[in-house]
Each structure stands twice: as C-alpha cells, then as structure tokens.
C-alpha cells in the first residue's frame, strides 16, 4: 500500500511538476509583485522607486478625471453589450431550435461573425459606419434621416462600439441552443393540450429549463464585456478616440503601463482595483442567481 503511495507521489510530481513551476512563475510571483508595485511609483524610465503608500489608489479614486471617464465608459459599455448580446443570442438560439431543413446552414451563418478576428471586425465596422463612405449613412440619407458621425462623433462613438461588439454573439448562442435542445418535447405537448400560449410556454417551461445556462452566460458576458480591450483599442486608435469617449478601463490601463510615461506602479494599482471590481461583480452575480436559477430538485 505504502509502496504504491510513494510511487504515486513520485509519479505525480514527475508529471505535474511542470505545472507547479508554471503556477509559481507565471501566476503567484506576478500577483505578489503587482500588489507590491501598486504601492510604489515604479516606472520603466526610472527603475529606482519608492514606497508611496496608498497614493496610487488615491490618485485613481480622487484625482484622475480621465480614469473616472474610463470607468463610466466601461460600465455603460459593459452593461449595454452584456444585455444586448444575451438577448440577441437567446433570440437566435430560439430561431435555430427548430428541426427544419437547412437549419445547419443558418447556424453556421449566425456563428460565423464570431470567427472573424477582431482586427478585421474593426475595419468591417469602421467602413460600415464611415460618416462619408459607409453603407449605414447612405441608407440613412435614402430614408431621409440625418446622417451621423458614428464613431467619429463623441456623442455616438460608444454606441457604435457597442453595436460593433454585438456581432460575435455565437458562443452564448450555442450555449443557449444546447440547453434548449435538452428541454423535453413532451412538456410542450402537455402545455399545448392545456391551451397554453407561446409566451406562457416560454415563461413556464423554457425559461426555468435554461436558467442554469442563463446564469453561466450572464457571468461570461459580464466579465468578457468588462474586460474588452481589442475592439475598443482598435476603433479608438488606442486612445479612446474621439475625446476619450471610447476609452475603456483595460485600454486606459494599457496606456498607463505600456506607453509614455510607463507608470507601472500606477497601472498596477489600477489592475488590482480592476480585479476587485470583477470579483465583486462575480459575487453579485452568484447571489442574484439564487433568484432566478431553478435547479433540478
């Protein structure tokens, strides 16, 4: 017995040892270092640094107006994207949850935008919404509406970013679809015999049945949209163009850390606060999920 145990322990570390080295080097050490740096004024330009206590946090919370703007943009953007994306995904999944000819083709088409890399998505929508050359304004003019500046106008740029982000709703859609396909058909048949309307069936059968994946999808969508970087970085030319109106948290953090003046200490404090925000929202999601998730028993 103990020979087996010793052999197992030896083998375990022989096979999994590399992951422990990785965990210590690429997760544990960076976190400790980030926490430490957030209390310093480290910058790449000036490797010597001092401990400055809570000053970085105070600067972010009290003084940094651009950061406040980025925070507000991020919340507006994330809430809009999360809600709209999930609605779109659910709508698409409900459409696809029908056994009709050619449904596989439509599923691929619905999913396809997700496959398009973000650097291409940015050009697709910058052209689509281009104030002078784009299709959207052309349609607006044809309909007798006033053309808009879209991403070039700070009043509409965040909305344009939200709409462009909705394109890749394929993942939550597939997750909803998988759950919808698990709902037993006879439940609907019984309800139909009782004369239930479409909406009643949706409310009483479909929603409770998919509520666990709804929770999973809300979680994923919230965190993903709060963390978005690529599209905002690309469409805002890396600086929240125009006039910081599309500046998101992660873009601001990137600029603080990896562009002039490379204030790594301040950026570390921002990263730490970001983590706390994400963790809090994950916790809130968990608590709220008790209200709507129906478990098997």
């Amino acid at each position: 017995m103990s020979v087996r145990n010793r052999k197992d322990t030896r083998n375990f570390f022989a096979f999994a040892g590399i992951s422990m080295i990785g965990f210590a080097t690429f997760y544990l050490y960076p976190i400790i270092r980030t926490v430490y740096m957030s209390f310093t004024n480290t910058s790449i330009m000036d490797p010597m640094h001092d401990m400055i206590g809570w000053k970085n946090f105070k600067r972010a919370i009290v003084y940094d107006d651009v950061f406040h703007l980025a925070l507000r943009n991020t919340f507006r953007y994330a809430i809009a994207v999360a809600i709209l994306k999930l609605l779109l995904a659910l709508f698409a999944a409900l459409l696809l949850n029908n056994q009709i000819k050619g449904i596989g083709f439509f599923r691929s088409v619905f999913f396809m935008p997700f496959v398009i890399p973000t650097f291409a998505v940015s050009y697709v929508f910058r052209f689509f919404f281009h104030p002078a050359n784009g299709l959207v304004n052309r349609i607006f003019i044809n309909l007798g509406l006033k053309p808009s500046g879209w991403y070039a106008d700070s009043r509409t740029s965040l909305i344009t970013l939200v709409v462009s982000s909705l394109w890749g709703f394929g993942v939550p859609m597939l997750i909803f679809l998988a759950a919808l396909q698990q709902v037993p058909r006879d439940l609907y048949e019984v309800a139909e015999l009782d004369g239930a309307t479409r909406w009643q069936k949706f409310k009483a059968i479909t929603m409770p049945a998919i509520s666990p994946v709804l929770f999973f999808n809300i979680m994923l969508a919230t965190i993903d949209s709060l963390k978005s970087f690529d599209l905002a970085f690309l469409m805002g030319h890396g600086e929240g163009y125009p006039a910081n109106s599309t500046l998101l948290y992660s873009v601001y953090l990137f600029n603080q850390a990896f562009k002039n003046p490379w204030s790594l200490g301040y950026a570390s404090a921002l990263a730490l606060m970001f983590f706390v925000i994400l963790l809090t929202l994950t916790g809130v999601n968990f608590l709220l999920s008790r209200l709507y998730v129906k478990t098997e028993n």
């Binding site: 083998n11 375990f12 022989a14 096979f15 999994a16 590399i18 992951s19 422990m20 080295i21 990785g22 965990f23 690429f26 997760y27 960076p30 976190i31 980030t34 740096m37 790449i44 698409a92 459409l95 056994q99 009709i100 439509f106 599923r107 691929s108 619905f110 396809m112 935008p113 997700f114 496959v115 398009i116 890399p117 650097f119 291409a120 050009y123 697709v124 052209f127 281009h130 002078a132 050359n133 299709l135 052309r138 993942v171 597939l174 997750i175 058909r185 048949e189 999973f216 690529d230 970085f233 030319h237 163009y241 125009p242 953090l253 921002l270 990263a271 730490l272 970001f274 983590f275 994400l278």
Partner: protein, 285 residues
C-alpha cells in the same frame, strides 16, 4: 415531433433569412468594396463596383510596407509553439491528476483552476518587466514561453475531463504488462486523445490569430509582426496627416478580406468541431 403549419414554417425561414442577411451585410459591404476603384470606395457608398477584378488584391501584395506572407508565417510559428507547449505539458499535468493518488490532490487542482478568475492585466506588468530584463523584447519568445509550463488551466481542465472518459482498465492492463507510466501516457493516452487535441488546436489557432495584446507588447519591428499587427497598421501606411485622413478603403478592405482567409478556411472545413470546441470552453482561444 410537433407538426407545424405552413405559415409558421414560412415565418421561421423569413426570420432566419432576414437575421442572416443583417449579420452578413457589414461583411458583404466590405467584400464588394475590395473590388472597387479608389474613387468608388471613398465616395458616397455605392453597392456594386463598375467592374470586378483583383487589381486591389494585387496592389496589396505589392505594397512596400505590408507583407502578408511574413505576417502569416510569424503568426503560424507562434501558434505552433504555443500549441506544442500546451498540448505537451497540459496533457502531462492532466494525466497526473487522473492517474495518481496523492494527498491534497483536489486542493492542488482547485488552486490551479482558481487562476481563471484573474484578469490578464494583473499578471501582465511583472511578466512584461521580467521579459524585458532577460532581453526578450522584440522577440516572439514571451508569446509562447509560458505555454511550456502548463499555464493554460482551461486546457488542463479540458484534457482532464476528456481523460476521465477513458476506461481506467486500459491503463491498468498496460501496467500489469509492465509498461512504464510514461509509456502508458505516450503510447495509449495520447493516441486516444485526438478529439481533445483537435479542440486545443482549433482554439489556439483562432486565439493566436486574434491576439493583439501580446504582439503589441513585445513585437516592435515590422519583420516580426503578426497578422493582427500588420492589418491594424495597414491604414497607417496611408496616414499622412491628422486623424481624419482619407482611408483608401479599396485596399484596406482587400487586405482585411485576405486576412480572413486562414480562419475562414479552418471554419469551413471543421465547422462542427469548431462550434463544439468553442461552446465547450466558452472562450475565444
């Protein structure tokens, strides 16, 4: 199966078609533009170009500061290294977790998984400093080194789930035949893991192809750029003044369409696996 009336089926097809069209419209608009002349592309939007030819595509390949094949090669090399590292080390780790009984094994596993909650930003700064200090700035090494240390816990989890579906008796039989643990892993487990490895390859391909953050941090000279950087920067070639310069959409759209080809080809040939892989893990690489 419920029976459906004709009108309901018609409505369904109608809704599916309209939604598809709305989703494809931005892409179609860009695709048509890649055949337009410069003047057609930068004027008020028109649907159909006067004539269809591949002149813009030829021009993109002839551009002095845009090197499609180099970007593609660089991206593929990074992808290959990441995939090799992760498949090798994550399968080893996952095997250890399903095969050997060790005290606190579950604790270790949960500890490993907990890093999923960490945002990349929290790790990026010290990691960046570290790679800078070892002189790896402007090299691709920082983009894949971590993969050789089983740092992708999503993949460890995915492989572990897959390995658990393989009957234990298979390993035990090999053990009584005197096979070493490494031999069991290499000769029995890995050949059986093709579907899981395929999932990893698909996710890593799209993930690497899509990644902008990493290359932006570490790759500065254009000869080392990935496709993401090349396409991102193509408009700068024509940028002569302030923000509102004229973008030659005919060329930019042709380059963008070209950049889509590798992922689209993969998607078309492995649609089912693609969607299963992504839905299973819920991530874009």
């Amino acid at each position: 199966m419920r029976t459906r009336t004709k009108s309901v089926t018609f409505m369904l097809y109608f809704a599916l078609s309209i939604t598809s069209l709305a989703l494809l419209l931005p892409l179609i608009s860009l695709m048509l533009t890649s055949f337009k002349t410069f003047n057609e592309a930068i004027g008020v939007y028109k649907w159909i170009p006067a004539q269809f030819n591949f002149k813009n595509y030829e021009k993109v390949f002839a551009l002095k500061n845009f090197h499609y094949w180099i970007y593609l090669r660089n991206t593929m090399l990074i992808f290959a290294m990441k995939a090799i590292g992760t498949i090798l080390t994550c399968t080893l780790t996952a095997y250890a977790f399903i095969r050997f009984n060790v005290k606190y094994k579950n604790f270790f596993f949960i500890l490993l998984l907990s890093v999923i909650l960490l945002p990349g930003e929290l790790l990026a700064i010290p990691t960046y400093q570290f790679y800078l200090s070892v002189g790896w700035f402007d090299t691709p090494y920082p983009l894949f080194t971590a993969c050789f240390f089983a740092t992708d816990v999503f993949m460890i989890f995915m492989f572990r789930q897959f390995f658990m579906s393989i009957p234990k008796e298979l390993f035990e039989a090999a053990e009584t035949d005197g096979a070493s643990e490494f031999k069991i892993y290499w000769r029995i487990l890995i050949p059986l893991s093709r579907p899981a490895i395929m999932t990893c390859l698909i996710l890593y391909f799209t993930g690497t192809y899509n990644d902008l953050y990493g290359p932006l941090l570490y790759l500065s000279s254009p000869g080392k750029w990935t496709m993401a950087q090349g396409i991102k920067s193509i408009e700068d070639i024509f940028n002569l003044g302030p923000r509102d310069y004229i973008v030659p959409w005919n060329l930019v759209s042709a380059a963008t369409i070209l950049s889509l080809i590798p992922v689209m080809v993969l998607f078309m040939f492995a649609q089912k696996q693609f969607m299963e892989s992504v839905a299973r893990t819920g991530i874009k690489g």
